[in-house]
Amino acid sequence: MAEPLEGQARPRERAHPGAKEYVGIAVILTLITAVEVAVFYIPAMHPVLVPTLLTLSALKFCLVAMFYMHLKFDARLFSWLFVVPMIIATLVIIALMRLFGH
């Protein structure tokens, strides 16, 4: 990380997590993936399959972005650079699906 100019305030950043936290996140990600696959095979879950899977997928996405890509700890500007295009892409997907009758 670049050192700021003398007298210049460093943008708000925190230390990255350690190996223990990284392994903990990996365990959570594995469990969520297992739940996703289980939900897919349980017929009783099929009425709520789509919202459940989308929620779990979004949770995994956020965990990787926040902890492994360090968005939770790095400067806020990096989050904006990533999240804004992602929101635009999501809106484009929704708009096109609506436009084509889904």
């Binding site: 990380m1 670049a2 050192e3 700021p4 100019l5 210049q8 305030a9 460093r10 943008p11 990255h16 350690g18 190996a19 990284y22 392994v23 996140i25 990996a26 990600l29 594995t30 993936t33 996703e36 696959v37 897919f40 095979y41 399959l49 789509v50 899977l53 989308l54 779990l56 997928s57 995994k60 996405f61 990787v64 972005a65 492994y68 890509m69 400067a75 500007l77 990096f78 650079l81 990533f82 804004v84 295009p85 992602m86 635009i88 892409a89 999501t90 484009v92 997907i93 096109l96 699906m97 084509f100 889904h102």
Partner: protein
């Protein structure tokens, strides 16, 4: 070597108006553009889903247990990637080499699985030109696989640099940026796994 390291360190510490590293900022902007790129491919897949005149259709051909294992492999590669970053940040040369190699090998395992899957689909009658599902599926997953391939080459390059002693603690940002790319490839697969494979 010491001079080269000092030069790199001096370069990394260059002052910027935001106080943020320019390379990292540029790379986040690139990842933002990649979001739009994969967003367009996913949108195309979803728009044309269920509009095939001829088979094979997704539910006839997609192998969920096999792809679940592939998804797990890619998730674990994200773990080894952050462990490589933690190792280089702590000056742990041996750890850096081990975790970089582990990440590259897991990436290659994922790619091998994708090659197997594509071959299976081809022999079951699904090619790029067979139907809309074939076209959108192969383009989407093929572009993702290409990104994984680029990531694997990048990781082996860093591994060779680490083996040659050219990846000291001062160059941790090189590993961090490669890691950002690798995790992005992982989050894209999280979306593809759910939208293409599980929600049919």
């Amino acid at each position: 070597m010491a001079v080269a390291t000092a030069t790199v360190a001096a370069h990394e510490a260059h002052p910027t108006s935001t106080g943020l590293n320019s390379r990292k900022m540029l790379f986040w902007a690139f990842l933002g553009s990649e979001c739009m790129f994969f967003g367009s491919l996913i949108a195309t897949y979803l728009v044309y889903r269920g509009r095939d005149q001829v088979g094979p259709h997704p539910h006839e051909i997609l192998n969920i247990p096999f792809t679940s294992v592939s998804a797990f492999v890619l998730l674990m590669s994200s773990l080894t990637m952050v462990l490589a970053l933690a190792a280089v940040q702590h000056g742990n040369v041996r750890g850096t080499r081990i975790w970089l190699a582990a990440t590259a090998l897991l990436g290659m395992t994922f790619l091998a699985g994708q090659c197997y899957e594509f071959t299976q689909f081809y022999f079951e009658g699904l090619a790029l030109q067979t139907n809309l599902f074939g076209t959108t599926f192969f383009v989407l997953t093929g572009f993702h696989g290409t990104h994984v391939t680029v990531g694997v080459i990048w990781l082996w390059t860093l591994f060779v640099m680490a083996m040659q002693g050219r990846l000291p603690r001062e160059r941790a940002l090189d590993v961090e940026i490669a890691g950002l790319y690798w995790h992005f490839v992982d989050v894209v697969w999280i979306a593809i796994f759910t939208l293409v494979y599980l929600i049919q």
